[in-house]
């Protein structure tokens, strides 16, 4: 079954709750109303002929411009080798999406990850806690506006950039150097030597030509 056929069956079953299939730029997707999400997923999993048994991916995308967080479901069927991409939108301020952990166990950890890194709360999830970061971490790193705190519990994660520091040192040294050999008169003296050097390296490239 192609993606659009699956989508048609979904729309026939759920009507307005399933949005139109996106114009396929590369991979098409369809929006689903959050309150019907679990029903839609159950339908996809249990309906003979669809039997989408594999929750391939579950992740989120932050869209601060639209003030929305999309939770994306990549679903696939091992039996029929077809799949569909569903998306659910939630507000950025207090994103809440029903959990599909009851449909696919795989969603358990992936929803925890989205909770951890995006701050999306999955209602009905049995064990919603951070998975990658410590429990007392502040903020959700994959949000677009996340600001690093510069450390954690007093352990800084910043260090000097030696390249920038060296440049600052160099500038001081160059200023001193310039002061020691003031530009106008000596340039004539060092300039030939300095300028004398460049031609010689510049000469070899000419040599092979000749």
């Amino acid at each position: 079954m192609t993606t659009s056929e699956i989508h048609q069956r979904l729309q026939a079953q759920f009507g307005e709750a399933v949005g139109p299939l996106s114009e396929p730029k590369v991979d098409p997707f369809a929006f689903v109303k959050p309150d019907r999400l679990v029903e839609v997923c159950r339908f996809l999993k249990d309906t003979p002929g669809l039997e989408i048994d594999f929750c391939e991916d579950l992740t989120a995308v932050d869209w601060p411009k639209r003030d929305a967080i999309e939770v994306v479901y990549h679903l696939y069927s091992y039996k029929y080798r077809h799949g569909i991409v569903l998306k659910v939108e939630a507000s950025r301020a207090a994103p809440t999406v029903p959990s599909v952990e009851g449909v696919w166990k795989a969603a358990n950890w992936m929803e925890r990850e989205v909770y951890d890194l995006f701050g999306v709360t999955f209602s009905g999830h049995p064990d919603l806690r951070r998975v990658m970061l410590p429990d007392d971490w502040v903020g959700h790193p994959l949000r677009k506006d996340y600001q690093e705190a510069g450390g954690f519990h007093g352990i800084p994660n910043l260090r000097e950039n030696p390249l920038v520091e060296l440049r600052r040192l160099d500038e001081v040294r160059m200023a001193e150097h310039a002061k020691a050999n003031p530009p106008p008169p000596p340039p004539a003296a060092p300039a030939p030597s300095a300028a004398g050097a460049p031609p010689s390296p510049a000469a070899p490239p000419a040599a092979p030509k000749a």
Binding site: V26, D27, D57, T59, W104, K105, R130
Partner: protein
């Protein structure tokens, strides 16, 4: 381990709580399991990950499409070729670039060599976790040979950064093909020796057979992929079923768990599927190198990679199963969102539910048989 977990555990009973890791020889500093045991038998093992979390997905939003390639090496440092390839395929699909045949063959050859190397580590550490140290050394010895080959190909032994958007970074060096073929001949005979040394060792069979059984339904439900899925009897391989690159040109079998040591989906099946996969990989490398087409190894790709807006999911069959990149482009030089869906992450998810009733020694076998690699879990 967090208070949130401790709250889930009833402390008013006779069970002992043990922190299995991170300072433990079997978790080598990057994993932690809170193990609730009743003597030798576990009630459950709650995994705690994140020790190696580097937010690679966030970095992907910052460094641009070609610049992310070396970072993909770090997603799974035992099988970096696949992470490279997956990323390259994702960006190529966004850019709609056709990869030259030669590059695709080189990709397949390098990836399959890497698969052998990765599986060698997996089965070698598995043997060590079961208590036999010697097979690990033999496995690493052969992995060294593969590393040498890959080093000659791309200049690095671990973080290859070999694939590029639109092809591969280097053509095969002179004489490389013969060296690889010579190695493969040797490796095929070594695989038989390996089987006699450890696979069919009675203790090994008894330690792995019937242990930590994951049924077919569970494997699919929990989203296991790759050898873990096939070990449970699901005949599914992205290379064959959702073909990409040069794989449609090659003949190879997909080994599926058959319950060699008693039960389909036990630790031994997952182990032995990997051993058989290595033999199939040598077949693929042979075919790829024997049929290696002439021509370019890099497509014409604009200097500034700026795909049009859109989103794509690329799948490759990594050594740890399906590795999927979900990439959203907003038309700029940098990806808007990068998501790497890795096999190890979900394999960790199943441990808590499978571990109840196992012995502590079986937990080690379970972790080893799932072949979880911490950087891939944590990303």
């Amino acid at each position: 381990m967090s208070k949130l977990v401790l709250r889930r555990i009833d402390r008013n009973n006779e069970e002992m709580l043990i922190n299995f890791g991170p300072q433990h020889p079997s978790t080598h500093g990057v994993l932690n399991f809170l193990v609730e045991t009743d003597g030798e038998v576990m009630r459950r093992a709650i995994p705690d990950i994140g020790y190696l979390h580097r937010s690679l997905e966030k970095i992907g939003e910052m460094v641009g499409y070609p610049g992310y390639m070396p970072y993909t090496d770090r997603i799974d440092y035992l099988a970096a070729m696949f992470a490279n390839e997956g990323w390259a395929i994702a960006v190529e699909r966004l850019l709609k670039v056709e990869v030259p045949r030669r590059a695709q063959y080189l990709r397949a050859a390098s990836c399959e060599l890497n698969r052998i190397a990765s599986h060698l580590v997996s089965i070698g550490t598995m043997a060590t976790d079961i208590g036999a140290v010697t097979p690990l050394v033999y496995a690493l010895r052969e992995r060294e040979a593969i590393n040498d080959l890959i080093e000659a190909l791309c200049g690095a032994r671990l973080t290859y950064n070999y694939h590029r958007v639109g092809g591969v970074a280097f053509d095969a060096p002179e004489g490389w093909r013969d060296k690889v073929l010579r190695f493969l001949d040797r490796f095929d005979s070594l695989l038989q020796e390996w089987d006699r040394l450890i696979t069919w060792n009675e203790i090994y069979l008894k330690r792995l057979g019937g242990v930590a059984v994951i049924t077919r339904e569970q494997a699919i439900d929990y989203g296991l992929v790759g050898p873990n899925l096939r070990g449970s009897g699901v005949d599914w391989d992205v290379r064959r079923d959702v073909p990409y690159g040069a794989y449609p040109d090659f003949k190879f079998d997909v080994p599926v768990g058959r319950g060699w040591a008693g039960t389909v989906g036990d630790a031994f099946d997952r182990y032995y599927v990997r051993v058989l996969e290595m033999a199939q990989s040598t077949r693929i490398v042979r075919q790829a190198l024997e049929k290696l087409p002439d021509g370019e190894y890099m497509a014409k790709v604009p200097r500034k990679i700026k795909p049009e807006a859109g989103e794509v999911l690329s799948r490759v069959e990594s050594a740890r199963g399906e590795l999927a990149y979900y990439v959203i482009s907003d038309g700029t030089e940098r990806a808007y969102r990068v998501r790497a869906r890795t096999g190890s992450f979900l394999a960790m998810g199943i441990i808590e539910d499978i571990s109840s009733g196992l012995m502590i020694a079986d937990l080690v076998a379970l972790i080893a048989s799932l072949d979880v690699v911490a950087p891939e879990t944590d990303r």
